[in-house]
């Protein structure tokens, strides 16, 4: 927590880091104020992002002012030595402020650590080390030298073997962190590289389909344009003239679509940011790379889509086409049919995928967490209170809170649901011939378990009535199972060696509950009594009285913890945040599904128009011979509907495979129902029928005399 004591502005902060002087240069921090070379070169210096400076100092100049860090009884003043431009929102590392790294060493020294572990320890895993390589250096080369480095400077191989310890150093390129890094304690919630590649592939697929549709339609139209080509050739046009003409046409069309796409892009930019719930990321659109790809797509698309029709059309022999006997060959028909099939397979898979993503998200949101997280207001605990004073302040605070009629109860804990637990240690049963298992620690007070309605599978909750409960622990069912107890009841009253040396009693086993979202498996947990846990206070309140309760809680808070900010959130909301990415994925998926079926329908529309055109004479003859409108409708739709049916049957295995592998990422997942594909298929089928009918109906009502007149 930082405080501007002069103005009594205090905020709890969790996006600040100790950083050495080189980081200013390496991160390319743009210092608006202060000297970049000296900003972090000595203890007790702090540099702030522009918005952080504004938060604490308003429009005043922050340079040279003091911010105080309070933690327990520890008070530490920092001198503001710089203000830097805010990092873009899409950075993998959000830094609201940086404190000079030597500050950490100074603190450790004053805390009695004469060896200054900030410069010597290798085992601290909450540091991010950035290494800037010389241009052209392959990081794999450097990485291959790290094991030897580890052996020399960290621990020898023999030591590791005897102590069953693994020390490994790995490098990951900065640009890969956001999408592909998956370590504990990432600086920010990372994106899913797989999902991004997946969406990218679909986008490529959609643009390819659009190009091929263009080729299809352009060649299909060749029947109409054959005569034009014939006349032009008779009048002296060379083939090259015609190719140029058709390429120009393609270019004009592409330029129009380019302009349209740019307009749509800029129009949709803000709605899209709202849609994805992100900050405005227009920055990426302006990089040189982006425009390079954009124009490569444009040029490639123009050439690719223009060349084939240009060559086909310009190759017509004038004598043949002018006689009127010209008819498009059936070569390329298979290609067109396959294209229809591919388009509709994609559409059905995407529609089914959208349904499945929504189902999965709904399932995760509606499934019981195993604990009651509704109507729970969570306060971030005070940080400035000394341990020795804690109970003497907390107890009166608790009593005051409970006096409010809208508050049902209050519980303290080291963590709440939705919060990833990093506090782990190895435990084993005394005398058991097993290696220690990693258990995730949750420290709670006596009220936590009943307050959250967490069910006891066996045994009891902690109680102040048992003087021995300082050495008591509660496991969850997964931990009991992992430790080899045959059921929950048999774990009760057994001993456990926690963290190697600490012998504790198991007094109870809770039913499993979801500490994290349903994407994750339930970790084996060990719940330990921590009546002094000050990280979070969970307050259960009556429905409908949230606003007034918050207001009165704030008053109470300021009376007991005047030095700490009143910082709260609702637990169901923050827990739901874990599904944000999945919901977003579902939305984007839906948009893509819509686009895919739209474009597939354009293709189908063009192809059915082409088909009708090809068969105009046949339709005429059949009508003259007495064919009814229905029979013509069936005749013309049959071939397409066959293709759609083939697509449906191909889509089922493809979609099932893709979505099953997508669901593998979720520890708790739905089963894919057959009806999903039936529904997706029906949607695609109906859309296809409507599309085909537009053309076919035109053909059926056409007067046959027109199509049969040849003179």
């Amino acid at each position: 927590m930082l405080t501007n004591e002069a103005q009594d502005k205090k905020f709890s902060e969790n996006k600040g880091y100790y950083a050495d002087a080189a980081s200013v240069d390496m991160f390319g921090l743009h210092l608006i104020k202060g000297n970049p070379h000296t900003a972090l070169d000595a203890p007790d210096k702090i540099i702030l992002s522009e918005s952080t400076a504004k938060k604490y100092f308003g429009n005043e100049d922050a340079l040279g002012k003091t911010l105080v860090n309070r933690s327990g009884e520890h008070v530490q003043p920092f001198e503001v030595t710089g203000v830097y431009k805010d990092f873009p929102g899409n950075s993998h590392l959000i830094m609201n402020y940086l404190v000079s790294y030597s500050t950490l060493g100074k603190e450790l020294l004053s805390g009695g650590d004469s060896s200054n572990q900030s410069e010597t320890a290798w085992g601290w895993y909450d540091f991010y080390v950035y290494v800037q390589l010389k241009p052209g250096v392959d990081f794999h080369q450097l990485e291959s030298k790290l094991p030897a480095f580890t052996n020399k400077y960290i621990n020898t191989e023999e030591w590791r073997k005897t102590n069953n310890v693994r020390d490994e150093l790995h490098l990951i390129p900065l640009s890969d962190i956001h999408l592909y890094s998956n370590y504990n304690q990432e600086a920010e919630v990372n994106g899913n590289g797989q999902a991004v590649s997946f969406l990218f592939l679909i986008a490529i697929f959609i643009i390819c389909i659009a190009w091929i549709n263009y080729i299809n339609l352009a060649t299909a139209r060749s029947v109409e344009r054959a005569k034009e080509v014939g006349v032009r050739k008779v009048l002296g046009a060379l083939r090259s003239n015609l190719i140029r003409q058709f390429l120009m046409e393609s270019l004009v069309l592409n330029i129009i679509s380019l302009l349209l796409s740019l307009i749509i892009f800029f129009l949709l930019l803000h709605p899209f940011d709202g849609f994805t719930g992100r900050d405005n990321y227009t920055g990426f659109a302006l990089t040189a790379n982006y425009w390079l790809i954009f124009f490569a797509l444009f040029a490639g698309g123009t050439l690719l889509s223009g060349l084939y029709p240009a060559f086909v059309l310009s190759g017509f022999k004038p004598v043949v086409v002018l006689k009127g006997a010209f008819k498009n060959t059936s070569s390329g028909l298979l290609l067109r049919k396959s294209l229809i099939v591919i388009q509709f397979v994609t559409s059905v898979v995407l529609i089914a995928g959208t349904i499945i993503v929504y189902q999965q998200v709904n399932y995760m949101r509606n499934q019981s967490v195993g604990a009651n997280i509704n109507q729970t207001l969570v306060l971030k605990g005070p940080q400035t209170l000394a341990d020795s004073l804690y109970q003497s302040v907390y107890q009166p605070f608790k009593t005051a809170v409970l006096q409010q009629s809208s508050v049902k109860n209050i519980a303290a804990s080291t963590s709440v649901m939705g919060d990833e637990i990093y506090w782990t240690n190895g435990s084993k049963r005394p005398g058991a011939d097993q290696s220690a298992v990693t258990l995730y620690n949750l420290g709670v007070d006596y009220d936590f378990i009943p307050s959250y309605d967490i069910k006891m599978a066996a045994g009891r909750n902690f109680s102040p009535q048992f003087g021995t409960d300082k050495k008591a622990v509660i496991l969850n069912e997964n931990a009991a199972k992992l430790l080899g107890f045959k059921d929950a009841a048999s774990a009760v009253n057994q001993k456990l060696l926690r963290g190697g040396s600490d012998t504790v009693n198991i007094v109870g086993v809770t039913a499993n509950f979801h500490q994290l979202g349903l994407q994750k498996t339930i970790d084996p947990m060990i719940i330990v009594p921590r009546p002094n846990s000050a990280s979070y206070y969970s307050i259960k309140i009556e429905p409908g009285k949230e606003q007034q309760t918050i207001a009165s809680l704030k008053q109470t808070w300021n009376r007991y913890f005047p030095k700490d900010p009143f910082d709260y959130f609702f637990l169901d909301e923050s827990f739901g945040q874990q599904y944000k990415a999945d919901i977003l994925f579902g939305k984007v998926f839906g948009v893509f599904a819509f686009l895919a079926i739209l474009i597939a329908c354009f293709g189908l529309l063009g192809l059915s128009a082409y088909n009708v055109l090809q068969r105009t004479k046949e339709i005429g003859i059949r009508k003259v011979l007495g064919a009814s409108a229905q029979s013509i409708l069936v005749l013309l739709s049959r071939d397409f509907l066959k293709l759609i049916f083939i697509s449906l049957f191909l889509a089922i295995p493809v979609g099932w495979y893709i979505m099953t592998s997508w669901l593998q990422d979720y520890a708790y997942r739905i089963n894919i129902g057959w009806w999903v594909f039936a529904l997706a298929g029906t949607v695609a089928f109906l859309v296809a029928i409507v599309t085909i009918s537009i053309q076919v109906l035109k053909a059926t009502v056409m007067n046959p005399v027109k199509s049969l007149r040849t003179e």
């Binding site: 046949e618 005429g620 003859i621 059949r622 007495g626 009814s628 003179e711």
Partner: protein, 225 residues
């Protein structure tokens, strides 16, 4: 069988109005073989389309077998057409994707005849036009004369009372042309009424009567027999 009175048909585009039939009155009796002649654009084809119930007149009366059909809707016309009228075109208008047999069978399918009956009937007709040996060929594999014989077979397979022929020999050499004309004559002798549009004086001599048209009107009638 056919009696049209003061029949009018006008084609309109945005700027031009073309009178195709101008108060035309003619009568064709059952069992007659009538040739319609005249220069291009005189309204021959329009007349044939209206007689074939493919197009409707703007004004006037059209009695077919004593029934007024000028105001028939699409469905009624199609029904009357498929049971009573056969067509032979200059360019044959066979469906390239179907075999000779299937082409001839088509009208029977549309009248709802059962498959075994159809087979018998198609074979009868193919035999009559002497194309039986080519039944499984596709139109493109036949000579022009053979194609037109198939087209004639298709026109008569339903045993229509009236055959409308639009320049049936226009795309044929004289030898093949004569064959087709003899076939039509034979059908006429067996009782089928034929109305044929032609440019050929030679072909017109196969008919009983020649109607000469100019600017949408009948100018003279030559009775040959």
């Amino acid at each position: 069988m056919i009696k049209i009175t003061e029949l009018e048909k006008v084609y309109r585009t945005e700027e031009v109005e073309t009178v195709a039939l101008n108060k035309l009155s003619i009568e064709v009796k059952e069992g007659e073989f009538v040739a319609v002649m005249g220069p291009s654009g005189c309204g021959k084809s329009t007349l044939l389309n209206i007689l074939g119930l493919l197009d409707d007149p703007d004004a006037g009366s059209f009695m077919f077998n004593g029934i007024e059909v000028a105001k028939f809707n699409e469905r009624k016309r199609a029904d009357l057409r498929k049971h009573n009228i056969g067509f032979v075109f200059q360019s044959f208008n066979l469906i390239d994707e179907l075999t000779v047999f299937e082409n001839v069978e088509l009208p029977l399918i549309y009248t709802g005849m059962k498959a075994p009956d159809r087979k018998k009937r198609v074979e009868e007709v193919l035999d009559k036009v002497q194309i039986m040996h080519r039944r499984n060929h596709y139109p493109q594999q036949l000579s022009g004369g053979q194609q037109q014989r198939v087209a004639v077979a298709r026109a008569v397979v339903n045993k229509p009372k009236l055959i409308l022929a639009d320049e049936p020999t226009g795309n044929l050499d004289s030898h093949n042309g004569n064959e087709v004309m003899e076939l039509l004559t034979e059908l006429n002798e067996q009782g089928t009424t034929i109305v044929m549009v032609t440019h050929s004086e030679h072909d017109s001599r196969y008919s009983h009567r020649i109607i000469r048209m100019l600017d949408g009107q009948s100018v003279t009638e030559n009775i040959l027999i």
